[in-house]
Symmetry: C2
Subunit: 465 residues, 2 copies
């Protein structure tokens, strides 16, 4: 049986094995939009899950997105916008009237509404907020008052908080009797008279307990509380470490002000874990929906930085022009030493950056990790040096040249291993993001050292004498 057939969520059978809309489907929707057949397009899109409608916009060619939006306006609810890629959403929001944006934002949880509104121009933002209900507006304005990427922006204010003296029955009656409470919660929070969290209670515990038991006997007192100004990356790591489903957010005075649920965290974990690879390679946001000019701007900076380090390496080579002139084989061999060293540095750097990002590398095991990387580097360096040394000795019938390249390779791989662990660690200690700038420094070291060690040893050995 086919995987997608199993998911009855795919009512339309339009998803491929990766849960993405099939190209033929996307094409047929666009064809109808192109033909001005809005009803036909709407009929196709109607059965889709909001996440798939969001995908449809990402997969449709950029020039057709506004007409698509116009054709299926009534299907474009807040959930669709909440699931949409940031760049695609921004482009669509720009094309809408402030009143329409206000309508959409009003439907959403505070965190999703904030995600839509926070990137708008200040003027547009003000207009949208003015068009909203006072309650919704107050919630969003409060969220916007917290720093970007903080718990305060992520949290929703709709949550269930009950006093300690209630029984399980009181809680159930309260939940049944109040129409306007949220339905999106997985735990309830028990609070003291000052509205400070006293405990957390999973819904399953409530359902499995007789009505007359006190809620304070069911709740768990050890809770993981989130400070409202905590960075979202730390929030995500805390959710992961303690396997949380939801967590109370508290203000500076310890009062319960909101709740964060794991479904909002899952996106952040994915994003934070995935962005290191993009940062390390100097690819900026690295989103395939990013405008070309933005991608150009973020990437060219790193290429220019790389050009500068390459010039340094080039200067190192120029010190040995005389040696190269006398033995041009050195010019053919020198990139090998620099290249393999660079690769070894990248390996160690990737390991270190990940260990730092996941809080695995702490002050307790720093020295152990450095020692570990040096041991790996010695083993790697020894192996690669033996292979290249032997090969060059034989091919060039010059054992001395083989010895020189082997010694240079060993040196450079050890330097690479040390740089790969020390550079990110140092940046981390200096409160810099190790993923962002490590590459430039490590490449600079492995390139320059590769050329210097090889050409320097060759000169010292009188190879080109």
């Amino acid at each position: 049986m086919n995987e997608t057939e199993l998911g009855s969520i795919d009512a339309t059978g339009q998803l491929d094995a990766d849960d993405r809309l099939k190209p033929e489907f996307v094409r047929s929707v666009i064809d109808r939009v192109e033909a001005g057949d809005a009803d036909g397009a709407r009929a196709l899109v109607q059965p889709l899950h909001p996440a798939d409608i969001a995908d449809l916009f990402e997969l449709a060619p950029a020039e057709w997105r506004p007409s698509l939006a116009a054709a299926i306006t009534d299907l474009l609810d807040g959930d669709v916008f909440a699931e949409m890629n940031d760049y695609v959403r921004e482009e669509l929001i720009d094309a809408l009237e402030p009143a329409q944006v206000a309508d959409i934002a009003s439907e959403l949880d505070t965190d999703d509404a904030v995600a839509i509104i926070e990137d708008m121009e200040p003027d547009d933002q003000r207009e949208v907020l003015r068009a909203m209900e006072p309650d919704d507006r107050a919630a969003i304005e409060e969220a916007l008052s917290y720093p970007e990427e903080s718990a305060g922006r992520l949290m929703q204010r709709d949550l269930i908080a009950v006093p300690e003296h209630w029984s399980v029955g009181d809680v159930i009656d309260y939940l049944r009797g109040n129409e306007d409470l949220t339905t999106d919660f997985w735990e309830i929070f028990v609070v003291d008279p000052a509205h400070r969290p006293a405990g957390t209670c999973q819904l399953s515990w409530i359902l499995r307990t007789p009505r007359n038991v006190a809620i304070s006997d069911v709740m768990k007192r050890e809770q993981t509380l989130i400070a409202v100004d905590m960075d979202q990356e730390e929030v995500a790591l805390r959710f992961q470490k303690y396997a949380l489903i939801s967590a109370a957010v508290v203000d500076g005075a310890g009062r319960l002000v909101g709740m964060i649920t794991v479904d909002d965290i899952v996106h952040i974990i994915q994003q934070e874990a995935g962005e290191d690879i993009l940062k390390l390679s100097g690819a900026g946001e690295g989103d395939i929906n990013e405008p070309v000019v933005e991608s150009y701007k973020s990437r060219v900076r790193w290429l220019i930085a790389n050009l500068a380090t390459a010039l340094l390496a080039s200067t190192v080579i120029s010190l040995f022009e005389g040696t190269i002139e006398r033995m041009v084989a050195l010019a053919t061999l020198m990139p090998i030493v620099a290249g393999v060293g660079g690769n070894a540095g990248t390996q160690t750097m990737a390991v270190t950056v990940r260990a730092l990002a996941t809080n695995q590398l702490t002050r307790s095991n720093t020295w152990r990790s450095i020692a570990r990387e040096i041991r790996v580097a010695v083993l790697n360096g020894g192996t690669v040096a033996a292979v290249i040394g032997l090969g060059v000795s034989l091919v060039f019938a010059n054992p001395q040249l083989g010895l020189v390249i082997a010694a240079a390779m060993l040196t450079n791989i050890i330097v690479a291993g040390m740089a790969g662990v020390l550079v990110p660690l140092t940046l981390d200690r200096l409160q810099q993001d190790p993923a962002v700038a490590s590459s430039v420094f490590v490449t600079m070291l492995t390139d320059s050292m590769g050329f210097f060690a090889f050409l320097g040893l060759a000169t010292a050995a009188g190879l080109a004498g």
Copy 2:
């Protein structure tokens, strides 16, 4: 107020700002173990959360881990092992008797027990299974019968399934009346007489609905079902896309056989998103707890592969030895063209690998993405070529040399951009993991093309004439 003070989970005040145990604390526990003061060590460890006890083992020096385990055996429950780093756990499990492992595994959810047992040697595995209760053993043996990293290994069999004809009151009475039901669930599954899922019901909906309403009127019929043999990475993406908290796992006949909850998925998302950076750099598992010899083995393979591609580049250079001999400045400049090109290739490759891993790059937008990367490459290439061309013209007072390096740089950055998107895409179409082998091919292309374009153009232009 300090962040960690807020989390009352940190009862001991022993966590740093990253939620990791402070080095002084780790040191003081080890000091007590070293002094043979098991009671003292136990008193320190007792108040910790299981996730922090697991951390303690990771942060303690490897040689002290067995003595630490011996000192605090009674605190080492299944939850601690479930939270532990794979390598650290394997090492500890090896040191335990099969009966002890069986005791620990019996306490755990099936998925956590499987995680502990699946990596043991077959003989030890059999012995542990033999020491377990028949029920637990059957559950684990069934899980082990599914492929590694599949939904069948991840799922737990303890779940709440109720028939369609029950009322909300029936469900609550069933949950209250059966002592041995699980308490770890966030949704209940409604099944038809053939035990096929008919709908899912959030606990909050049950709590907010009067007792006499039929459960089939409360449940949601559109569900995301997981096939038991689905790969865990696809499971994780599906959880993320549809913001799931838990999902039903079904066998080939569509019958409900288990449940996966989001807390198990969070680890996978982190791991899968983070491992691309390690694969792309050829760093293998890249875990800082991995034994040195394992790290050596996984990394040296890629260094040797890199050595092979470097030899190819070296051969390209050797074709132009005559040219270099006549104009040794070419040898100093050529690594710049190759290096910056390599960097540009890595940028595009990182973007493409991430887009493929997150299912953002599909058949619908492949051509658009290739065209996009070529446009970015032309902009980047043009800028970098202009900078280096002008610089070289001035420094070497040789406009022709400047023109040659600019043309070579532009060519190489465009080749790099195309390789960076086409190589991972091709590997993906061939059902290979694009993160694993892309780097080798892209580097080979950018190195060889960099040297060939620069030295070839220089020769053709008669620069060294």
